[in-house]
Amino acid sequence: MRSTLFCALALASAFVFAAPVVAHHGFSVEFDETKPVTLTGVVTKMEFMNPHIYFYLDVKDANGKVVNWAFEGSPPNILSRQGWRKDTVKPGDMLTAKGFRARDGAHLVACTTITFQDGHQLTVGPGNIKAYDKN
């Protein structure tokens, strides 16, 4: 069932209105393109809200300590056009999320993609930073 859902999402993503998006601020004022990060953990909360969606992962660090990270993505309108729904990511899901860390050192990431345990990948935010900065 999940495979069917994600096939549908992937197919939808190929045809919808596409826009590189950070909804209301530039990338560089908040995130550091020199600090890419890949983290795996369990979703603790999903906020499918404006101006950015947020989801939160409990991630174990090298010492086994669990840290709750926040991941920011495109707003719901953009993601909805890519096939997302409010429960596309939900608490309990195990994800690997890629993105770029916040400049202020917070456990906050501008998320570009997520990969579910079954291998399906979804775009969460723009992968090309410069597409929405000053170029």
Partner: protein, 240 residues
């Protein structure tokens, strides 16, 4: 308990959306749709996201010394959109990130931006600009048809919006002239002319394609769950 501005907004939208149906029921063609009349611009549209308006221009606009100095020092943390302020009339089209809907009637054409659910009212009933306009976020717009082109003249803009994400700014003397030329059913050629003697030594124009979108206007509210501002830092990256 409803907020007055929200009620006014809803009223305007309902009236604009309903008007074509009333004209259809009266036996008269909807505005702009008749074969002999102006083209029909109704629909949902989008221009390519253009965060730096100097790119389609091919060079920096002709800054006055004052504007050149301001632009050099500009930091994107100061972008009004970061504060969830309105996007402004031209940026809403060329760098709104989200589509907009045109609702066209004989006397009024409205542009409904998905971005912050803001809107422009363009009066096409032959009126002139008021003689004394208090500056506002979207100004005072009047329009007329020149063949297949809706020509929109806008004054009365405040100086608080940016023209783009890159930090090109303007004063309250900004005068916009836009040409919405209907090319075919799914394409509009949009040309915007920026005139602002305080910021630019001469008027300059850019042209972008606007394409019909197979979507509907969705919701977008910048303040709903805003969490970024606490994390923003100055980039200290000077513009060229």
């Amino acid at each position: 308990m409803s907020h007055p501005s929200r009620s006014a907004f809803i009223g305007v939208i309902v009236a604009l959306l309903a008007l074509p149906f009333f004209t259809a029921c009266s036996g008269r063609p909807a505005g702009g749709a008749q074969a002999s009349g102006p083209p029909d611009l109704n629909g949902v549209w989008s221009a390519p996201f253009t965060p730096d308006i100097s790119k389609p221009l091919g060079h920096q606009p002709p800054f006055t010394p004052y504007a050149a100095d301001l632009f050099k020092k500009e930091d994107e943390i100061d972008d009004p959109l970061t504060q969830c302020l309105p996007i402004g009339p031209a940026r809403g089209i060329q760098a709104g990130l989200m589509p907009f809907q045109i609702v066209q009637t004989p006397a009024v054409t409205a542009i409904l931006f998905e971005n912050q659910r803001t809107f422009r009212i363009i009066n096409t009933d032959g009126r002139s600009h008021p003689s004394d306009v208090d500056p506002t976020w979207f100004g005072d717009s009047i329009g007329h048809w020149e063949g297949d082109t809706l020509v929109v003249d806008t004054v009365g803009l405040n100086d608080r919006t940016w023209l783009d994400t890159a930090g090109h700014q303007h004063s309250d003397q900004l005068h916009l002239v836009e040409r919405f030329q209907k090319v075919d059913a799914d394409n509009i050629k949009w040309t915007v002319r920026f005139e602002d003697p305080k910021f630019y030594t001469e008027p300059w124009s850019v042209t972008l394609p606007i394409k019909r979108q197979n979507t509907e206007i969705m919701s977008y509210s910048c303040e709903e769950n805003e969490k970024d501002r606490a994390h923003l830092r100055r980039t200290n990256k000077l513009n060229k």
